[in-house]
Symmetry: C5
């Protein structure tokens, strides 16, 4: 995750502002453009090769949704951007996948940047992809870094005329897309929540060095999630507050709903951070505790055997005049003394609660 922090930004240094240039992970796939157009009665969906095929139906009040998968081919994006009359800076931002979530109102259209999250089971990574939305009076254009499935439920609902989406305008479509994305965050959080629980059980049962490393991995995930979701709150709040003429009154309550969800996501991230901090404390004190255990064993062993060894050493001295050595009972008495010393020591340690 970290490795892509601003990688590729350097290409742009020195270029005039508004120069479109792809900044992000290497992509080889072809850009794919899907066109969906609908109103309450009609519905049309097709894949198009080039934006020239597209004629916005202006006579009938229809909503058009253009979805673009892939933002690395300048020429294609340039044409789309010209077709919809987007500002050069918008095109530049669409191609720069390092954006943070933001909203910009250009009067005729609103430009939104959002982050989509994917969880890959095999490498335990959270992948962050950028989604740009352009909302016009009767169209929505969405730009994704690559083909993803987060927006499919919305497409299904349009296709099957489920929910309100066919009855409302482009603003409701944009809301539906944002809502899909935020809903998807809950999936990721559930996944991470499970990971945290597993880790916690491991921490209590048998903390290992790998436990710590996973703890820090999760912590870092939280850093990046937070970065992706925090600004979204502001984005949706401004969308709701500033009341562009593109947003109908009836959609505001839905925006408030998705805003609440965003707050829930942020809340959960903060809670996870708190829990992970607590777990680090537990880990560290469990290391200290085990060190204590080790030291106690060492001290007990030393304290028992050192005096005994001294006793043995004393009777191993070669003095000519040591009457004990001549005594018949010398050896067993000494062995008995050693036993007594050991037992006394053990009692002492038991009393000190070291055993």
């Amino acid at each position: 995750m970290k490795s892509f922090l601003f990688k590729g930004r350097s290409k742009k240094v020195g270029l005039p502002p508004g120069t479109p240039e792809y900044i992000g992970k290497r992509r080889v796939v072809k850009t794919k453009i899907t066109f969906v157009s609908y109103n309450e009665q009609d519905y049309q969906e097709k894949e198009i090769k080039s934006i020239e095929e597209l004629v916005l139906s202006e006579n009938k009040p229809k909503v058009t949704w253009i979805n673009v998968d892939g933002v690395h081919e300048v020429e294609i994006l340039k044409k789309i951007s010209e077709y919809f009359g987007l500002h050069p800076l918008v095109l530049e931002d669409i191609m720069d996948t390092n954006q943070r979530p933001k909203i910009e109102d250009f009067g005729d259209y609103i430009y939104l940047v959002l982050k989509m999250l994917y969880y890959t089971d095999k490498s335990d990574e959270v992948i962050i992809e950028q989604l740009s939305l352009v909302l016009g009076s009767n169209f929505v254009v969405s730009f994704q870094e690559r083909r993803g499935d987060v927006l499919d439920p919305v497409r299904d609902r349009i296709r099957n005329s489920r929910g309100l989406v066919r009855k409302r305008g482009s603003d409701y479509l944009a809301y539906s897309l944002i809502d899909s994305i935020v809903d998807n965050y809950f999936l990721i959080l559930e996944k991470l929540g499970d990971n945290i629980e597993d880790l916690e059980d491991e921490l209590v049962a048998s903390p290992r060095t790998e436990t710590l490393q996973q703890l820090h991995k999760l912590k870092r995930h939280m850093v990046f999630l937070r970065k992706s979701v925090w600004p979204l709150r502001e984005v949706i709040s401004r969308l709701e507050r500033e009341r562009s003429k593109l947003i109908m009154e009836s959609s505001v309550i839905y925006l408030r709903d998705v805003y609440d969800h965003t707050i829930q996501v942020i809340d959960a991230i903060e809670t996870f951070r708190d829990i992970l901090s607590g777990m680090l404390d537990i880990y560290l004190s469990s290391i200290s505790n085990r060190m204590n255990e080790v030291m106690k064993v060492l001290t007990i062993i030393s304290t028992i055997f050192m005096p005994l060894t001294l006793v043995a050493g004393i009777y191993g001295m070669n003095f000519r005049f040591m009457s004990e050595l001549e005594s018949l009972w010398g050896y067993p008495v000494v062995l008995f003394c050693m036993l007594v010393i050991s037992i006394l020591m053990l009692i002492y340690f038991r009393k000190k609660k070291w055993l």
Copy 2:
């Protein structure tokens, strides 16, 4: 507690917004609807099976309180929601028990989400349940996750006409319910405060590994309590400030009172957090201190016995020409020297304050 973080949210991904779907712990109990209707003179209370039985008395100025225990049966809730003309998003929120406390003013009615806390003695857990309130001009509908006893005092007061509740409107009833819930928080805090005191005594007397685990359990409780109570402050403050036409002037002072109580709860939670942090510090430094003790014992033992063992070793050497060995006083002199060395060492350690 942690285990229910967003569990079940994934069911909703992809559904159109406004689709009611229960999100929460598995429930098997049947939904129970209680109907209470009163004014200063009359009082009526019954359990109803279905919302069709309910006819709001519109000719006489009466306040009606519908309490619904159980929010997992879609059909029943749908009927209630239609009966009172609630927005589909409200119904959705009622059934999603992961909400954070919030308030939404729909003009004709105000929708509130609150959290109720229960403390279970046997597992030492704090259980968080959601309460949704809908406040209309002459009715209040409350939705609880399951049958609880937090609202009973209000029911008693209505029944016995104690306090002002029978003399006032639905806004005062809603206030009374909120006040009951906040009052209940004090019970939980008292319980947790006792636990903290017990733990503290234990910490001073004999800190063990379990002490740490309980400390962290309490800390986590605080994380969840905070999450439940913090937004409540904003909720009540908005209820008081925004002056919906549903809230009468005379109720505002009561809202201010419950607001003050909420602040007290938040204050206490913050204080508990501070105290728990301090206790963790004490625990950690007591571990360090004990490690120090252990090390000192080891060092004292080693420092006393190692020189003695060397002396014994020296006189155990088999050199032919060691005049001491032949001497009559050799053995007692060596023993005496060993004694002197031990005493000197002990004096040295006493001076170093290790003993």
Copy 3:
């Protein structure tokens, strides 16, 4: 201090709001009511048994100050509260000693909650008591938990007509009382500051486990002081800003003065917290340092004696053919070698700066 966190609050759960019920430490003393009435010329002071004795002199412009020591007897307080026409919630708050400092403006009177601090030398505790003030157009009623001496200077000044208090109205009297209380905070802070200094000297000279415990005691004092003083700032600021008709223009500058003092107190508490945190750091690193010392002694001892013991052991072996043993100089040479080894080791440790 901690033990009284919400103790007794549970009694109130379920009671209708506005029900007066004493919440606080057990009290046995009788409530005592003192009545002071004055203007620039006259002065009258007496203890009264019941509020019925009290007739507010309404014809002459006089200021009346009723002081009530003890807030645990419902009946007495109820009568007073009715006499002055206080709202039931105010009476409830007066009897609940868990309030945080707050201000409420009821138009005809202003209700204030403040905290008084006492330092008890013998148990090194800070005791927090609640003072409620009701400020009316020509009267002030003060409610204390028990007889205290913090307000005595004001009484003296009225009696002896020192300062401006006899020349001004009830707002100046209320100000004087608040000022007395804040002045008293400085005494407590001086005391605690002395304790911190003593502790610091101890920490440098010879840190012990008790030092840590006292450190934490002081830290906890700061937590509770902060909780008592922080909201006071807001209280006084609102009193100054909101300009009730009860506050005369000429008193505002005095309120600003006491506000400044409050800020100074808060500043000092924050500084103390910073200092105490720093002291904890010093304590912990001094433990680590001493552990290091202990370990060094152990290592030095082991490193010197283990090789010597080995040498002695080698020449204690019973091999038949060990020519050194037969040599006349064997023994002294070995002793000399041991000496040399010891000296080399000592030089090595000196170089490593362990000695």
Copy 4:
């Protein structure tokens, strides 16, 4: 980096405000003034010796950009400042390289202070240099501490008429310069990001004391970067918000773009700080872990060899009556017992998971 904190500020103490005096690193290079003048058709560039050579073309609407490398020669700067009618305090600020980024609007011109960052590969240092901008209605004057290459791309774009810069006024030129500087930040961040990644790999593979030192070096870099970039956010935001008559409407969107970039830079710095904190935690717990390892080895060794040594010591005693010593199998049996003891110990440690 740290070494230059306020070094040289002391020279100014006592001088009247507005006295120009160079404060910064010692400079020996000569001040260099470059003059660029352009409109959509024409373009002129030359190096000038003295400001007297400069005649602003006032009849034709041209934009003039004066770049001054070196701010340590009072006389030269004084002339420039008089030529453009700058306030003495502005001149003072230009020469004081300890400024934090700020903006001041003087009506006729806007004065901006920015920070440029350079990364020097050989010493792994981040160098911070100050850039002052004066934006007038048809001119921009930029003051750099020394010759740098951050502004070159803008000069190139003017020269080759790339982008919009030749078509717009002086406000767009100022924006282009700011944009260049912020773009440059991304380069530095990429570099530091790489360093952090390298360090992280090292930390996992083999943490050494130098790793810690580099960690702290990076942390300190972050402290200084933050100090340089945080106020920039406010600067650009005010430039955008306050709408001086010098800023044309069409430039505002570009300022918003550069504002977004600044937020991205700040975000990245905060993320880096979080990551570095996490790395310190890993480092510390890895030290604790290794200490644990060391202690375990010591304890295992002691626990195995101490009993064996005791056994050997016992049979080394010189008692006359020790029947074992006479036995034919005594020696092998003792050796076998020693083996058994060792193996039992090893099994014990394996069970304790120490091995």
Copy 5:
């Protein structure tokens, strides 16, 4: 520094507000009053014994600056305060040297409290002294705790008519005094910055216990500096924003300049705090590292010598039947084995990177 926290405040408890009483360090020096009066042409300076000597020249537009060194003599200050018509609370504040920086606008005059810092080389202490300023329409009165040299540059500039001070009014004089004080902060910060650098070098070279103590001393300095400078920011900002009629339009830009300097000072203090925190981390981990070193030495020594001692012990046993003992090569073979064991151990430790 700490020792003077509120020392002496207790004297005031119980006195009526507005009672002047000196609170601060014991002073024995006599109060000294200097009188400076000037306009663009004239200049007059003299020391006066009593305020009665002073006649403000009211016919000619002159600026008068009264400087009072020593604020412990009530009578003198009372006369001055009456002469200028100051409010009793102002006099009280002037004599209480525990004030925090503040500003109060009384319409006819503005009262300012500032803090001056002195660094004493010999005890490495930062001394904080209070300066009160009263700014009237044509006069400035400054009160210092004792004779200091921070304001001398301003006096020199007036005397020699350097800078603008003679051309402007009393507001510019007040500004000049504030500016002098803030300039002086930079001197202190440079000094402390040097100390921090020295300490850092020491920390890397050879960290000792004293290093830690100095670290904490510097940290505490920062606590006190922060307390003195933070409120100053607000003071100057209000002076600039609230536009009293005493502040001329032309002075506002100068106030903005000194505001910027204050921000720089605050910035530097925060940076120093960050650096000192980082240094504490380094210190603590270097202690841990050294502990690790010590433990390694101990473990290596034990691990090498314990097995050897055992071997020697075994061949020191007195069994009758130990064939090795009779062998001619027994002794050298055993010695050789010991050598091999040692070498193997060393190789093992080298591999573990302990050596």
